[in-house]
């Protein structure tokens, strides 16, 4: 019998053979891995296993997973988790985005979709109550995100109207899609939704592109999955929303106030490729967005009362017609200060461009900032790039973003992401990689989120990135040891939003999980067994990596060199990330999880967690 909260089936889509079938996972597997990131890791290990190191993430052999969780759509803040073998860090990232797609999939009876193979021409998957079908996407290939979505909405609505003309009006489908960056396999390309929402980390947009898969759409009229204790869930649902509505600052500004705040207050904002982290530019104030660009100040995703989103639109001037969200802080910083841009309108333009091209708005501008610093230092020249790449020159970064998305000129190298680009540029320039890696702000191939550690005043500290199985991902850090990682992992597995986990107590969220599923899940069981099992599995696949690169224990479990350069300005001038604390706390973290001092899971840990089949692979990495 299907446990509460699960629709029951997964779609298995072989793009090579164009065959679609249903897969059902045992209740025991669901109880152990829950959903989302956990189920994705489990499916990947079960299906790839020993071949992991040899599997090219951009080959047809990779597995691309869209996973919901048992709480998706029921608990506030619906999201979906996209995963697979990542072309950025060669392990597993649970990359989530807010969209109605998971709600529609679950209504249609599916908890997720698993893609294998490669279509011989562009296609998209359409899931409705009348079945799943692969449809031609030749007319969508090459279109930017905005145009893709506009066409998909009309096309699917009309298709359903034709199929069932007498039911009344059909709503538009839930969807995710890629832009040109994904199509051209830009290594850190995002899977996009709702014009400006992205599953950014992990590069799964490139994996979609490698499979000729332009989009996944779903529209259903089905009821939500039944839950174990419906009356309790309804009560907790009301309580959760009550708590969320009390988080007033977030409701008012979303993360839009941090463009100013993370510079002026916490001194932790990437400025010109992290050469600085402090500014006091009031021109970046949230009020400037609110007064000039926000056309909707209360915008929410499915089942959300946090409503951190706001709709921005530029209605006059050079970038007229740009539409995006707040932008949220990560894009304010990366499409703003990191490129030397301190103007809200220019920031909206670069953010909109990231959305349209299907770039990850964190990772791509990290790489663009990296290129600009190399230009500043004379390592890359006007001849290499084709134009001057000065800080704050929005038009130049606009051109570069297009070149990366289409892999033109220097864009082809930068499309490999900051870490790989460093090696390629070193090769071209005849330099030692170290000379270029010292400016690369990444952790294990993942460009670091826009929260620095040097000032120690933001939520991010010492080892929060260096020890994480998801590298530079700011949404899944180990800031306070295993506690916050456990929490992030939970909402990536139950699949709801990080921002709807703030407000309601942890107790409420686990009570909710138990009432939905009927599993004897508690905060304690998650922290001590389920969570460590999933993180250990992710760690194992990170160690295995391959085939183009592998991460060496200790050597690669480090922060970017820049985090050890003294902050050059501001109230925290001179501060660096504390190397001793990184060391001490990393060891404590490894110990908590039952990994050895080099971060390799111990045999007894694998046995205890039911992961004994990993032992032969892990034994190789122990000294």
């Amino acid at each position: 019998m299907t446990p509460g909260g699960y629709a029951g089936k997964w779609l298995d889509v072989d793009l090579t053979k164009e065959s679609i079938s249903d897969t059902v996972f045992p209740a025991e597997t669901l109880e152990q891995y829950f959903g989302g990131r956990g189920m994705a890791a489990k499916i990947l290990w079960d299906r790839v296993g020993k071949r992991w190191s040899r599997l090219d993430p951009l080959s047809p052999g990779n597995i691309l997973i869209f996973a919901t969780g048992p709480m998706t759509g029921i608990y506030p803040g619906a999201r979906i988790c996209v995963s697979g073998k990542s072309p950025t860090n060669n392990s597993v990232i649970g990359s989530t985005a807010a969209t109605e797609l998971p709600v529609e999939l679950r209504g249609a009876g599916y908890d997720g979709v698993i893609f294998t193979g490669k279509a011989d021409k562009p296609v998209y998957l359409q899931v409705t109550d009348y079945g799943a079908e692969l449809k031609d996407a030749g007319h969508l290939w090459g279109l930017d995100g905005e145009k893709t979505l506009i066409k998909l909405n009309r096309e699917v609505r009309e298709d359903l109207r034709k199929k069932k003309p007498n039911l009344g009006l059909w709503k538009e489908p839930g969807s995710m899609y890629i832009g040109p960056a994904g199509e051209n396999m830009v290594r850190h390309a995002a899977v996009m939704a709702k014009i400006c929402h992205a599953a950014g980390y992990g590069g799964y947009g490139a994996v979609m592109g490698s499979k000729n898969l332009k989009a996944v759409v779903a529209k259903s009229r089905g009821v939500f999955p039944r839950v174990d204790a419906p009356e309790t869930v309804k009560l907790l649902w009301r309580k959760a929303h009550h708590d969320l509505m009390a988080v007033t600052q977030f409701r008012r500004w979303g993360t839009g106030s941090f463009y100013y705040n993370c510079g002026a207050s916490t001194s932790s904002e990437p400025i010109r490729n992290w050469q600085e982290e402090w500014h006091d530019e009031v021109s970046t104030g949230v009020n400037r967005y609110m007064d000039r660009y926000w056309v909707k100040t209360k915008w929410a995703d499915f089942n959300c009362t946090t409503g951190c989103m706001k709709v921005s639109c530029i209605k006059a001037g050079r970038w007229k017609g740009d539409i995006t969200d707040v932008p949220d802080y990560e894009l304010q910083a990366y499409c703003g200060t990191n490129l030397g841009i301190f103007d809200t309108g220019e920031n909206i333009h670069i953010s909109t461009l990231m959305d349209k091209l299907g770039h990850s708005g964190i990772n791509c501008p990290n790489t663009m900032g990296y290129a600009a610093e190399l230009y500043q230092r004379g390592i890359l020249t006007e001849g290499d790039i084709g134009f001057k790449l000065e800080w704050g020159d929005t038009e130049a970064f606009d051109r570069l973003a297009h070149m990366i998305a289409h892999r033109e000129g220097i864009g082809d190298i930068l499309a490999e992401g900051t870490y790989r680009a460093a090696y390629r540029i070193a090769e071209v320039k005849g330099l030692q990689p170290e000379e270029l890696l010292k400016y690369a702000v990444h952790v294990k191939g993942i460009e670091v989120g826009a929260h620095g550690t040097r000032s120690d005043k933001d939520y991010t500290h010492d080892m929060c990135y260096s020890a994480s199985v998801q590298g530079g991902d700011h949404t899944s850090t180990v800031t306070d040891g295993y506690s916050d990682m456990s929490g992030a992992l939970f909402f990536d597995c139950a699949v709801y939003c990080t921002f709807t986990s703030r407000g309601p107590s942890q107790q409420l969220q686990f009570d909710f999980a138990k009432a939905v599923t009927g599993f004897p899940i508690t905060l304690h069981s998650w922290r001590s067994v389920n969570g460590p099992r999933i993180i250990t599995l992710q760690k194992a696949m990170l160690l295995m990596g391959g085939p183009d690169l592998t991460w060496v224990p200790v050597k690669d479990d480090v922060n970017p060199p820049r985090f050890y350069e003294p902050l050059p300005s501001g109230p925290h001038k001179g501060k660096i990330t504390d190397k001793d604390r990184v060391e001490i706390r990393t060891q404590a973290y490894f110990q908590t999880l039952g990994w050895d001092e080099r971060g390799v899971p111990k045999k007894e840990t694998l046995v205890k967690l039911g992961l004994a089949d990993l032992e032969p692979a892990m034994a190789k990495y122990r000294v």
Binding site: L149, G168, M245, C304, T305, C313, G321
Partner: protein, 173 residues
């Protein structure tokens, strides 16, 4: 004693959270079922969210159109559907200027907002969240109500111009 009420609506204020759909379906269906909600929020383009629900036209074309008299009105002004009598013919859907009624995904019968007998759940969750896209007013028959029974894609086209200016002409195909 029932009295006339109306759900005043402001699409510009809709956040798109769909809690109205969840609340409505929990009341009418016992569980979360957005597509069986009597209010449905359309989103032809992100940022253009349109709550779509019965506007209680003063002349009730849906009621008049029903060939088996399955539709009637109550003291609040709501349209009630007799699910025993309904033959799922779709006449009410076609008669409605905004194509608001739809055939229920479960029993395939015509489904229309019943104003929850005077205390609509959708309004409660919307106002509670401070979105105020749906608001309850004590107003009787009024020729303007019918104007709000409108195809949600057409409403979104208007919103697009209001929100996005000239660019708004391009966002809905």
């Amino acid at each position: 004693m029932a009295k006339p009420i109306w759900i005043a609506r402001d699409a510009t204020a809709c956040s798109g959270c769909r809690r109205c759909e969840l609340a409505c379906s929990m009341r009418h269906e016992g569980w979360m079922w957005p597509e069986a909600s009597r209010v449905r929020v359309f989103m032809p383009f992100p940022g253009l969210e349109v709550p779509h629900l019965c506007a209680q036209c003063q002349d009730y074309p849906c009621v008049k159109s029903c060939p088996v008299q399955a539709l009637s009105t109550d003291g609040n002004g709501a349209v009630l559907v007799d699910r025993e009598k309904c033959t799922s013919c779709g006449a009410c859907i076609r008669a409605c200027p905004g194509t608001v009624p739809y055939l229920h995904p479960g029993d395939n019968k015509a489904t229309i907002c019943d104003l929850c007998g005077g205390d609509p759940e959708c309004v409660k969750v919307c106002t509670e969240a401070g979105y105020n896209s749906l608001m309850l007013v004590n107003e009787g028959p009024n020729i303007h109500k019918k104007l709000y029974s409108r195809d949600p894609v057409e409403v979104a086209r208007d919103l697009a111009i209001k929100f996005f200016g000239e660019k708004g002409e391009e966002v809905i195909e």
